[in-house]
C-alpha cells in the first residue's frame, strides 16, 4: 500500500537542498584544506600540498591566540551560565503569582538577533556616552576602555554572553528539574539527607543528561560566536576569538588564501568534535564510577 518510491519522492527536495548547501561545502573544505590555493595561484588551479596548510597552522600565532581566548571565553561564560541558570530554574520551580511574567521577561534576550545584542552592549560600553564607563569611572575610579584593555574586552564579552544565553540554560534546567520524579527526593529527605545531599546525590544525577546537552550546545555556540562580539568590539584586543579568526581567514571578501582558510575551518570542526567527545567521556565515565 505504501510504496517506498513515494516516500523517497517526498523526502527528495529536503535531501537535495541539504546535500547542495550543507554537505557539498563540507566536502569542499575537506578537499581544499590539503591544497595550496590562494589568490595568486588561482590561475594555476589547485596544487596538492599535503599537510602544509596544517603545518603552517601550528605555528600561526594569531590562530593559537584566538583558540586560547576562545577557551577562556567559553569556560568563564558557560561556567557562569550553568550556575546562574540552575539557581534561576530552581527559583522558578516554586509557585508564586506573576511567575510566568518574570519568566517571559527573562526569556526575552534569547530571541534577540546576536547582532542586535552586540549593538545593545556597544551602546552601553561606548566611551563618551555609555553609562558603564562613566559610572565605573565615577564610583570606582576605574578606567574602562575595551578598545585598549584586552582583559576588559574579554570580560565584557563574557558578561554579554551571560546576559544573552543564561535564559536558555534556565529553561533547559527547568525542563530537566520538572521531569525529576518526586519519590526519590522525598525518600532521601525521609532518610535524613540535608538539602545539599539531596542536591548532590539525587537532583544532580537526574539532571545530568540535560546538563550535558546544554553544555554541548553552549560549547558549539561559543566556538562559533562571531556576530555579537564583532559588533561589540570590532574584533579589538581580547575579543579575537577563533570564530572571528575563522571568519577573517575564510571570509571571501577579506581572505586571499583559500587553502589555508579551509584548513583552519577543518581543524576547528575537528577540535569542536573532540572537545565535546572528551567532555562526554569525562562525565559519563565519572557517572559509571559512582554507580559501582
Amino acid at each position: 500500500m505504501r510504496n517506498p518510491r513515494v516516500g523517497w519522492a517526498l523526502l527528495s527536495p529536503t535531501l537535495i537542498i541539504l546535500l547542495i548547501f550543507g554537505f557539498a561545502p563540507f566536502l569542499y573544505v575537506l578537499v581544499v584544506g590539503f591544497f595550496d590555493w590562494n589568490v595568486f595561484s588561482a590561475q594555476d588551479g589547485l596544487v596538492f600540498s599535503g599537510l602544509d596548510n596544517f603545518r603552517r597552522l601550528v605555528f600561526d600565532e594569531l590562530f593559537l591566540t584566538s583558540v586560547g581566548l576562545t577557551i577562556r571565553f567559553a569556560v568563564f561564560a558557560i561556567g557562569s551560565e550553568i550556575v546562574l541558570g540552575f539557581v534561576l530554574a530552581q527559583m522558578l520551580t516554586r509557585n508564586f503569582p506573576g511567575k510566568s511574567l518574570f519568566r517571559i521577561i527573562h526569556t526575552f534576550p534569547l530571541m534577540v538577533a546576536p547582532i542586535a545584542v552586540g549593538a545593545v552592549w556597544r551602546l552601553l560600553v561606548i566611551p563618551g556616552f555609555g553609562p558603564v564607563p562613566y559610572f565605573l569611572d565615577r564610583w570606582f575610579d576605574l578606567t574602562y576602555q575595551i578598545g585598549s584593555y584586552p582583559d576588559q574586552a574579554l570580560m565584557t564579552s563574557v558578561i554579554m554572553d551571560v546576559w544573552h544565553w543564561t535564559p536558555f540554560v534556565t529553561l533547559t534546567m527547568l525542563a530537566g528539574l520538572s521531569s525529576i520524579p518526586r519519590e526519590p527526593v522525598e525518600q532521601a529527605k525521609v532518610d535524613g539527607a540535608n538539602r545539599l545531599q539531596v542536591f548532590w546525590y539525587v537532583t544532580l544525577p537526574f539532571l545530568r543528561p540535560v546538563l550535558l546537552t546544554t553544555v554541548f550546545i553552549r560549547i558549539m555556540d561559543a566556538i562559533r560566536t562571531v556576530d555579537e562580539v564583532w559588533m561589540l568590539a570590532g574584533g579589538g584586543p581580547g575579543t579575537r576569538f577563533s570564530g572571528i579568526y575563522i571568519w577573517r581567514v575564510t571570509s571571501p571578501a577579506a581572505s586571499a588564501d583559500w587553502g589555508y582558510g579551509s584548513a583552519v575551518s577543518l581543524i576547528t570542526l575537528y577540535l569542536t568534535i573532540v572537545l565535546c567527545w572528551l567532555l562526554f567521556i569525562a562525565i559519563s565515565g565519572r557517572r559509571k564510577g559512582e554507580v559501582e
Binding site: 523526502l11 527536495p13 573544505v29 521577561i105 549593538a119
Partner: protein, 284 residues
C-alpha cells in the same frame, strides 16, 4: 508543616526582590537602547542620563523613510517569510516520509539531517561563496546577492530542527487515521490535507514561527553572500557602525525595530523556544 505568616511574608518578599533584580538586569540594556534611540546626537554626550527625558521620534522616522533601509527591511521580511513557508512544506513532506514509509537507512538519514545544524557557519563561507558566484550561474545571473540564495541557504539550519520538531508530532498521529482516509478513497494529498495538516497544525505553526525568527536574526551568511540588492536588516546594523559610525541614535532606533518580532515571538512561542534551540534534545 506550617509556616508562620511572617516567614511566608519574607519568603514572598525575597522571591519578588530577586526577580525584580533579574528583570532589571535583563531590561536595562534594552532600556538604554530605547533611551538612546530617542535622543539627538547632542543630547547623548555628557553625563549619561538613564531617564527618558522626552519622546523624540526623529531617529525612527529617519530610519523608516530611508530607502536603503526600506529595501533591507523588505528583503528581511521576504527572505524570512519565504524561508519559513518553504521549511514548513518541505519538513512536513520529509517527516511524513520518514514516519510512514519503510525507507532503507531511515534512522541514518534522520541523524544526518540533524547534524547539518551543528557545523560552525563561518567554516563554510568560502565554499558557499564560490558556489553562489560561480557554480549557480545562468548567463549574467548568479545566486549571489539574491533573495532566493538566502531562502535556500537558510534551509540548512532551519530544516533539521523543523524535521526534529515535526517528527514527534507526525509520529503521534495514529496511522489508522491515514488508512481510514485511504479506504475512503483519499490519495496521498487527500491524506495530507484532511488528516495530517489539521492534526499537526500547532506543531507546524511553531515550526514556522521559529524558522522565521532564525532567518530574521541571521547575519553571517547574509553579510557575505549578498552585496547590494538582497542585503538584510541585520547587515544594516553592522554596516551602520563602520560606515557612518557616529549616529548612535539611528543605530539604536534600527536595533529597536529589529527587536519587535523577537518580543512578539517570546510572548507567543515561549514554551517552544528551548525545543527549537536544542533541536528537540530537551523537551519542555
Amino acid at each position: 508543616m506550617t509556616t508562620s505568616p511572617r516567614r511566608r511574608f519574607w519568603r514572598y518578599f525575597s522571591t519578588y526582590a530577586f526577580w525584580a533584580l533579574m528583570t532589571l538586569i535583563t531590561l536595562i540594556p534594552i532600556w538604554w537602547m530605547l533611551v538612546v534611540s530617542m535622543r539627538t546626537r547632542v543630547e547623548l554626550f555628557g553625563r549619561p542620563n538613564l531617564m527618558l527625558s522626552r519622546i523624540y521620534l526623529e531617529n525612527y522616522s529617519n530610519v523608516l523613510t530611508d530607502s536603503t533601509f526600506q529595501r533591507y527591511m523588505t528583503n528581511s521580511l521576504v527572505v524570512s517569510t519565504a524561508n519559513a513557508l518553504l521549511v514548513m512544506i518541505l519538513a512536513l513532506l520529509a517527516t511524513y516520509a520518514l514516519s510512514r514509509y519503510k525507507l532503507a537507512g531511515r534512522d541514518n538519514i534522520f541523524f544526518w539531517l540533524i547534524t547539518n545544524r551543528m557545523a560552525p557557519p563561518a567554516a563554510f563561507l568560502l565554499p558557499l561563496y564560490i558556489m553562489f558566484t560561480r557554480t549557480f550561474r545562468l548567463g549574467d545571473w548568479t545566486l549571489f546577492d539574491t533573495q532566493l540564495g538566502l531562502i535556500l541557504l537558510y534551509c540548512v539550519f532551519n530544516l533539521p530542527f523543523a524535521i526534529w520538531l515535526l517528527k514527534g508530532v507526525v509520529d503521534g498521529i495514529p496511522i489508522e487515521l491515514d488508512d481510514a482516509a485511504m479506504i475512503d478513497g483519499a490519495g496521498l494529498w487527500g491524506v495530507l490535507r484532511h488528516v495530517i495538516i489539521p492534526l499537526a497544525a500547532p506543531g507546524l505553526a511553531v515550526t514556522g514561527i521559529l524558522s522565521w525568527i532564525f532567518a530574521w536574526n541571521e547575519y553571517l551568511f547574509a553579510a557575505n553572500l549578498t552585496s547590494v540588492v538582497a542585503r538584510t536588516i541585520t547587515t544594516a546594523l553592522a554596516e551602520f557602525v563602520t560606515v557612518t559610525g557616529t549616529n548612535w541614535g539611528e543605530l539604536a532606533a534600527m536595533s529597536m525595530i529589529t527587536l519587535v518580532p523577537s518580543a512578539i515571538i517570546v510572548i507567543f512561542a515561549q514554551r517552544y523556544i528551548v525545543m527549537g534551540l536544542t533541536f528537540g534534545a530537551v523537551k519542555e
